[in-house]
Symmetry: C2
Subunit: 446 residues, 2 copies
């Protein structure tokens, strides 16, 4: 029988007009159109892989072009050869001798890496006919570490240490998997606190999510202290002080400003301040964490951490109380596994960033693997949940009683419905053409 080969890599620019309703608005991103670069890896067999990286609208075309440039390193390969030595393939993709200059391992090319690598994991899970979390759980410790490039992180975790961490958990996996299938994984909601929402809408949403069983709520802050005070008060009034509140500044502050501002909001007892300053500022986050810990406020960041090297330092420096991996910014599942291993080694809980297009769908798999195969606990751990764009996926995230329920279908839950692609591919999709025609959005020039 002919061996399976990758025969084509397609990439599409898919955008949803979320700016119309201020969904997703924060201090730095005032009018996002939640979007993605969407990769389809086709084989000569009856199976394809679907992967994506999340974007905010403008600029998605640049990530799409990067995926096209990188596709030349993939088409023609046998998927099994990739999966047998995934770390080497990952290194090859991220260290291409000319292309790495325009990264390296950050920005547009690393987002493109994420989309492609995520599509390969989806393909692998579909071939194995397992949801990704189960594929990961069923890999032996040796197979799992063979997917990870340990370059630049051996001062925190070596391949051998990673193996030992994973082996030590093997015997507990079956019990944990059973518990996971029964209870799911706890979630928190960000839906109540986007900056652009009115007070009435915030109150309605608090009531709605309390009814749905949520006990942890996140609000955006950072544009105006008086407004933050009012909004945090509003949410605390609605949810009470027995529930959990987190706040998120989306990088708006200077280091000292973050400390001062959060001292003013400490009375609302937030569990964490998320992204207080530049995502690149390890030492800045460490200083903020040191100042705020005595007030009971932790520091969380990660959705814009460029790669495992920045995560490594955040963890080394004590800059993070909650490590927020993102499934679409760093270079796909392989690199995220490295971050989970470093977080385990340095004893920092991972609370994934989600909410963007496909992020909830993806991170649930990773966090469920973490529970079953690595940490065995959900203590101090929650997955972000935002109720947007799930309707476009064939296998959307399912949250019941504020818990993500383990996906059962094969893959990484990242395949779009055909009609969503028909409507929202940019700019040719049916909905975009309608909106251009009706003047809701200007049609793109050249």
């Amino acid at each position: 029988m002919e061996e399976m080969k990758i025969v084509q890599l397609d990439v599409q620019d898919v955008r949803f007009p979320t700016s119309l309703k201020s969904d997703g608005s924060d201090a730095m991103h005032t009018d996002p159109d939640y979007s993605c670069a969407y990769v389809t890896i086709k084989t000569n067999k009856n199976v394809s892989g679907y992967g994506m990286t999340f974007t905010l609208g403008r600029g998605t075309e640049i990530v799409v072009l990067a995926c096209k440039t990188m596709s030349k390193m993939i088409v023609g390969l046998k998927p099994q050869d990739i999966f047998n030595d995934f770390a080497s393939f990952w290194r090859k993709l991220t260290s291409e001798s000319q292309l790495r200059w325009i990264g390296p391992e950050k920005g547009v090319t690393h987002l493109a890496t994420a989309a492609i690598i995520n599509a390969l994991w989806d393909l692998w899970a579909r071939i194995e006919e397992k949801p990704l979390w189960k594929l990961l759980v069923d890999l032996s410790p040796e197979q799992l570490v063979s997917a990870i490039d340990f370059r630049y992180i051996t001062d925190v975790v070596t391949k051998q240490e990673a193996l030992e961490l994973l082996r030590s958990q093997q015997s507990a996996k079956a019990t944990r998997e059973a518990a996971l299938l029964q209870k799911g994984y706890p979630a928190y909601t960000t839906q109540v606190g986007w900056l652009g929402y009115s007070d009435v809408k915030v109150r309605e949403l608090c009531a709605k999510y309390l009814d749905l069983g949520f006990t942890a709520f996140k609000a955006k802050v950072g544009q105006d202290l008086k407004d933050d005070t009012r909004r945090c008060g509003l949410i605390r009034e609605a949810i009470g002080y027995d529930k959990t509140l987190m706040v998120d500044a989306n990088q708006i502050w200077e280091v000292e400003e973050a400390v001062d501002w959060m001292k003013q909001l400490a009375k609302f007892q937030p569990l964490w301040i998320e992204e207080p300053t530049s995502p690149d500022d390890v030492l800045g986050h460490a200083r903020i964490a040191k100042e705020l810990r005595p007030l009971g406020i932790g520091v969380a960041t990660g959705e814009m951490c460029a790669n495992r090297v920045i995560f490594k330092q955040m963890l080394q420096a004590g800059a993070l109380d909650y490590c927020q991996i993102d499934s679409a910014r760093i270079g796909g599942v392989n690199e995220i596994l490295a971050v989970y291993l470093m977080a385990k080694k340095l004893n920092v809980p991972v609370c994934p960033h989600a909410g963007g297009v496909g992020l909830c769908e993806m991170v649930q798999h990773l966090q469920m693997w973490d529970f079953v195969s690595l940490t065995g606990t959900t203590e101090k751990r929650l997955i972000e949940y935002v109720d947007q764009q799930h309707e476009h996926f064939e296998d959307p995230a399912v949250v019941q009683k504020a818990h993500y329920m383990p996906p059962s279908k094969p893959g990484y839950s990242t395949k779009f419905k055909d009609e969503s692609l028909r409507d929202y591919v940019y700019p040719a999709g049916r909905e975009w053409q309608r909106m251009f025609k009706e003047g809701v959005f200007p049609a793109p020039t050249d």
Copy 2:
């Protein structure tokens, strides 16, 4: 009279086939084709600005597309409005609410920012009919700091502190400028030590550059310890121990590996080890610097530092003995000025990275400004010099007796000759078409 307006932004993919001769080869970049994204900003008057960001070949098309996307924020503006509040324009360009997600301030979009911002400074200098270094020197401290976005760096230097630093140097500027015009600025050469060169070629080049008056030489290391030992020995034999040797690993090592490897090379008394590990690893560089300082070896890095926030931390952490700004990676002149100010504040000498397409042409202006307006010294300071691609520029860098001589023509020295564009625009240029036809390089697909 009609005011000056920007009417067009063109961007070209320009590539030189340097991989044919191993020029520029190092441990991580084995076959670079020195290239650039080349921006031309046209006005309604008889003056244009030319700017670039350096690349290594494949992927330049992605940076070109990013420039095109960003051009929509520039066309139609009045240059004078930009220059009057340059920091605000810079912030607008780097913080565009949708586009920043695919950076922020790193990778492809920040390279594109550099190309565009550099073209604007070239335009400004041409309008003022001054070489860029002289434009910078002649700006008042108030004008100069008005070009800098201090976001995320106020914990090291505030706008007020920057003003004071600059004001304190005002009275010494005239004397320093006269000295600069007479003596130029000291250079070192990297031409002797590319990894792909034979021993015979290395010996010949050492002799040649000694004859030209050079006293400082840099060699690439990191692929093989035995080979490095042989090559460093070869160069020391040729130049003697009274001259300066630097070595450059181009990010090849793990943190501990860098320490161990350099202990083996310490006998060759290198002034610095450049890029020992990941360019993102502030804490790793700090650890390497701490281990190597007692051996008399300094740590240098910067050509791949993503932005001022990474530089800030490198300086804060004592990770750098030599700060290597790059004129084409971080967001153009404005952001580089911020790095110079932080380096001055924290007392670290700046030794610019150069050698790529246009880098020598650009960094000379910046370092000359530093000498005249900020630090007043060339002690522990050198500009890298590589004798490649200068022939393509209308106003090429001039190095005499191992000193960069101050440019006298208006602009940032970044305008290509027409015939170079005709020959090396990729893939349509005459030379590329010839090479495709003769099978020297494969023609690009799609």
